[in-house]
Symmetry: C2
Subunit: 472 residues, 2 copies
Amino acid sequence: MENVKLLLERITSRVNANLKEFDFDTRQFVDNTIEFAKLARFYCFYGITSHHPIFFHFKNSSMAGSYFLGKANVKQSCIYKSDVRGDELKRKGDIMVAANPLPLVDDEIIMVTGSLLYKTLVHSNSHNPETPEEFTIRNTIASHYANIHGATMEGCFLGPFATADLMNLHSCILGAFSYIQAGEFYHRKIDPGVIWVENDDFKFKYQHEKEVLDKYIGVNENHQPRGLIYEFVNEKEEDYERLFEVVEIEPVKAPQSSAVNRYAVVKPKTEIGENVLISQRAYLKNARMGNGSNAQENTFIINSQLEGMNVTAHGGKIINAFVGQKTFVGFNSFLYGKEKARLTIGKGCIVAPHTIIDIDAPLTIQDNHLVWGYISSEADLATHTIAIEELEGIHGSQKIGNMSFSGSGKAFVEAFANRIEHILEANGAYFDYDSQELSGHAQEDQQIAFNTLQPYRSGENAGIYPSIRIKP
Amino acid sequence: MENVKLLLERITSRVNANLKEFDFDTRQFVDNTIEFAKLARFYCFYGITSHHPIFFHFKNSSMAGSYFLGKANVKQSCIYKSDVRGDELKRKGDIMVAANPLPLVDDEIIMVTGSLLYKTLVHSNSHNPETPEEFTIRNTIASHYANIHGATMEGCFLGPFATADLMNLHSCILGAFSYIQAGEFYHRKIDPGVIWVENDDFKFKYQHEKEVLDKYIGVNENHQPRGLIYEFVNEKEEDYERLFEVVEIEPVKAPQSSAVNRYAVVKPKTEIGENVLISQRAYLKNARMGNGSNAQENTFIINSQLEGMNVTAHGGKIINAFVGQKTFVGFNSFLYGKEKARLTIGKGCIVAPHTIIDIDAPLTIQDNHLVWGYISSEADLATHTIAIEELEGIHGSQKIGNMSFSGSGKAFVEAFANRIEHILEANGAYFDYDSQELSGHAQEDQQIAFNTLQPYRSGENAGIYPSIRIKP
């Protein structure tokens, strides 16, 4: 066990060195988070398919419950129940950005070095044109259920349920439940609960109030998460246990065009339509998944219906709700309807990332609206929504409630629409079964075999993995 | 799937090239043995402990249900449910033979190349001083439950339930249920059912009659096994299934000084004493395992008691029997007592490898006797046993029934006694819990973690594994 402790100490000191200017010590987080016995007992998985390039290299690392696909290289890191994916890594010859049409000289590879990722998802659609062949996370600690989507991440600390989306961070701290998608940040500290989407054409910003964060998702003095959202996730943890105990599992009933990952929890009365993707660690209970809809990693869909072509982004939670055609539910959103206070969201809506809707009376969001922030009543809704058509007309600055927007509304709407289209296409929502064309994850991720990897059980290396390399 | 077929075709043609002089075509065996769907569905295991050097390299190979420990390198091979061990491989600096006291320049490694091992056990106590750092199996096909114990094996075909013990074979054919331990063989064909133990000091030889082989273990026109022993083993196959389905399994109750491998089947009313080793794919049901006793791979101990310090060598089957203190039951022996016709074997006995005892009336073998061959009654026993003391007195030639012995009886008895001592020591039968001294497999094999490796599921590589390398 000594070597795991040494490993964590090394990671901690490297991250601290990067965050020195903020006088921020990650040691308290690490010391209070890691259960060493579990590191020696649990195991991780590498997915083998004929659709993804295979290259996996582990060294001086500890992993537990984690899930890898595609090319990955993990060194001096501890990855605990993180769903590091690899199915959107670029391939040799791909063009990354139209502005710089040079093809990749090699397949892109996930590189994790000197980092601790704790129950953190890492996606794999990279947006750093500096190193198109490498998807890098270095000297970084990401705490409970932080989302990292396709970005260079160096010397950072991400608080619980924080999301760094389509961007690169260097020596940054992201507060709990903050969402940022703003290109590239150097040496910045982002407050908890900030939702910030910005590019050359527009800027959208909102910050959850302290009381809301205290109730739903905050941290205690040891940087451990607390609050309603964390409790909601935490109490469902044991439902995943059986999935990790068995090597093979009876497949969930689904059409041939749909994929239900074998590490998803699918409870009774769930119905799966055509071209549906249910990712690992998704949780479905009495869920009706319409054609082309998806439930990404760490999502919860309970007593709810998704009409069709719906994206439920990583960590989205939909409870007692109806979600209309092609409505997007953003990352880590917590849509908490009640049995007698159902939430109805019309078609073509955008639920901004990190939105909290917690209602005690029925609530309806009209078709083609954007919602954001914290909504607990009709009254809240009034200051947390805008018709997408109206938004498209905005030029310049506008404030609605605590949300400030500036720039081109049209560009904002287009950016979201493009993102949603990209996700639907990548997930195989438009797959045509007869011609077998337009396939995506829902079709390509069906036949995954898993290499189940365990660490040393005893001795000074307990919890550490031997060096493992898997190639075609 | 095409590439698995190509792999098998390549193995077949290489073995055939080596066996050309015998006009022997292994193609019929291979074509009728391999169930391709299982190769793509099953998986194999690599054991991780802090007691064994770790190096594992797979390439262009297919494996299913197989179990590796220690250093191994597998290329262009198909290994199906074989228990390739590695816990007796020599280490860098070890001295192999007193006659040539040069230390090994590197840890010994199992090298399997261009071979098909079908439900075959491979042990790891090598006896080839030519290549002390390599334990080699090359261009060889071993069929159902053949035992290969620590030997160089090149261009061979081993029939079902055949054993090549402590020796090297080059371009040889071993008939079904034959047991040979005779140094080194080149270009020889051994008949079915031959039991042959020979060294510079003595020669022991027996051959089972054709009728016995036809009843208990023969092959059909496709070289597939048939007969009572094969049926006995085959009908218990499904009891192993649950063991392979789960990643972790509730440990069997056993003293701290004993090891029950998690891939052993242990059925009710079994009792495990101190310093006991139960190996992978051992099968115990209502078995009382006395202190220091062991059940090696592919053994079956049913409704039986082993008094203590007993070796049940690979593939030994003990049913409705009492086995006295320090009695050795040799490889693939079939001791088939009945509920109302129990077999009693005294203490200090040697049951020669490949002995068949099948009785319908109770039978007792006196203390300190050697038995061999086929025994179905008191009358058979008379011509298939000798007191060890009497055997020790033999010089020159002697025939008892169909058994012929020549040379020094004393040397024969000593050789067996040394072998039994080596096995008991290696297995940890003499372990002292207080001082933690004299430990062996029973103690060192307790904390094994397993990497569970799966092949490609679909496409032309279905059934083939990616290249995998595991190092410390």
